[in-house]
C-alpha cells in the first residue's frame, strides 16, 4: 500500500512511466510476434477443429484484456473513491478505450472462429451475450466519464459506475457453467488444462505479450491525460493573471 500511495504522486509516476513505456511496448511487440509465429506455424492443427484452433491465440488474450481492463477500472474507481488518489481516475479513463477495443476484438474473433466451427457467426449464448454486455458497459463508461469531465464533475459518478459494472465479471466467468449452451466450459485453469500441451504453449507467451502492449497503451494514455491537464491548468492560470 505505501508503494501505491507513493505512485499517486504524478511527478513520481511520470519518472517511472517515461522509461517504462517503450520497454513494455517493444517487449510486447517481440512476444506477440514470436507467439503469432509459433501459433501459426509451430503447433499442430487440432484433431477436431483443424487449423481454426489457431484463432485461440488471439481470441483468449483479447478476452483476458477485455475482462482485465474492467477489473483495472473497478480497482482504480475504488482507489479514487476511498483514498482520493489523483492518478486513479486518470488510470480508469486511460484503460477504458483499450479495454473496450479488446472486448470488441474478443467478440469479433469469436464470431470468426464460430462460423467454421459452430456453423454460425453469432448465437445468444450466455458467454457471448454477457461479453457483449461488457462491451456496452465500456461504451457507457467512456461516455459517462467524458460527460463528467466536460461538465466539470468531480469523477465520482463514473467511479461508482466503474464499481457497479464489476457485477458482469463473475457472470462472464461462470456463464459457461450456469448455462449449458454453445460456448465450451472452462478449459484452461491455473493448474490443469483440457487443451493438450503441444497446442497450449504459445498461449502464455501471447497473454504476456498482449498484457505488455496493453500496459504500454495505458501508460501512454495516462501520460497524454496528465499532460493535457497540465496545459489546461497553465492556460487557466494565464487567463486569471
Amino acid at each position: 500500500m505505501p508503494t501505491l500511495h507513493a505512485l499517486a504522486n504524478p511527478a513520481r509516476f511520470l519518472r517511472i512511466a517515461r522509461p517504462l513505456t517503450p520497454w513494455l511496448w517493444w517487449l510486447g511487440v517481440a512476444l506477440v510476434a514470436f507467439g503469432s509465429w509459433a501459433g501459426l506455424t509451430q503447433t499442430p492443427p487440432d484433431y477436431l477443429q483443424g487449423e481454426t484452433v489457431r484463432i485461440l491465440y488471439v481470441h483468449v488474450p483479447s478476452a483476458w484484456l477485455g475482462m482485465g481492463g474492467w477489473s483495472a477500472i473497478a480497482i482504480a474507481s475504488i482507489a479514487f473513491l476511498v483514498w482520493r488518489h489523483p492518478l486513479a481516475e486518470v488510470a480508469a479513463r486511460a484503460v477504458a478505450v483499450p479495454g473496450a477495443t479488446f472486448a470488441a476484438l474478443c467478440l469479433v474473433t469469436g464470431a470468426i472462429w464460430g462460423r467454421p466451427t459452430w456453423g454460425t457467426w453469432w448465437q445468444w449464448d450466455g458467454r457471448l451475450t454477457s461479453m457483449l454486455l461488457l462491451f456496452f458497459v465500456y461504451l457507457g463508461f467512456i461516455a459517462l466519464s467524458n460527460a463528467d469531465r466536460d461538465r466539470g464533475g468531480d469523477g465520482r459518478v463514473p467511479a461508482i459506475y466503474g464499481i457497479a459494472g464489476t457485477v458482469l465479471l463473475p457472470i462472464i466467468r461462470y456463464s459457461v457453467v450456469w448455462w449449458n449452451t454453445l460456448h465450451q466450459g472452462p478449459s484452461i485453469g491455473l493448474t490443469s488444462s483440457t487443451i493438450d500441451r503441444s497446442l497450449l504453449w504459445p498461449l502464455p507467451i501471447m497473454l504476456l505479450g498482449f498484457s505488455c502492449l496493453f500496459g504500454a497503451i495505458v501508460l501512454m494514455r495516462m501520460r497524454a491525460i496528465l499532460a493535457a491537464a497540465k496545459a489546461e491548468a497553465r492556460l487557466r492560470r494565464r487567463a486569471l493573471a
Binding site: V58, I112, W113, F210
Partner: protein, 34 residues
Amino acid sequence: MNPWPFVTAAYVLVLGAGALVGWLSYRAMRKHEK
C-alpha cells in the same frame, strides 16, 4: 470450408486494431507532452 481465410482475418484484425490503438495513444501522448 477453407479455414485459412478465417484464421488470417482474426490475426489481421487483432494485430491491426492493437497497432492502431497503440499508434493513436502514442500520437496523443506526443501531442500533449510537447
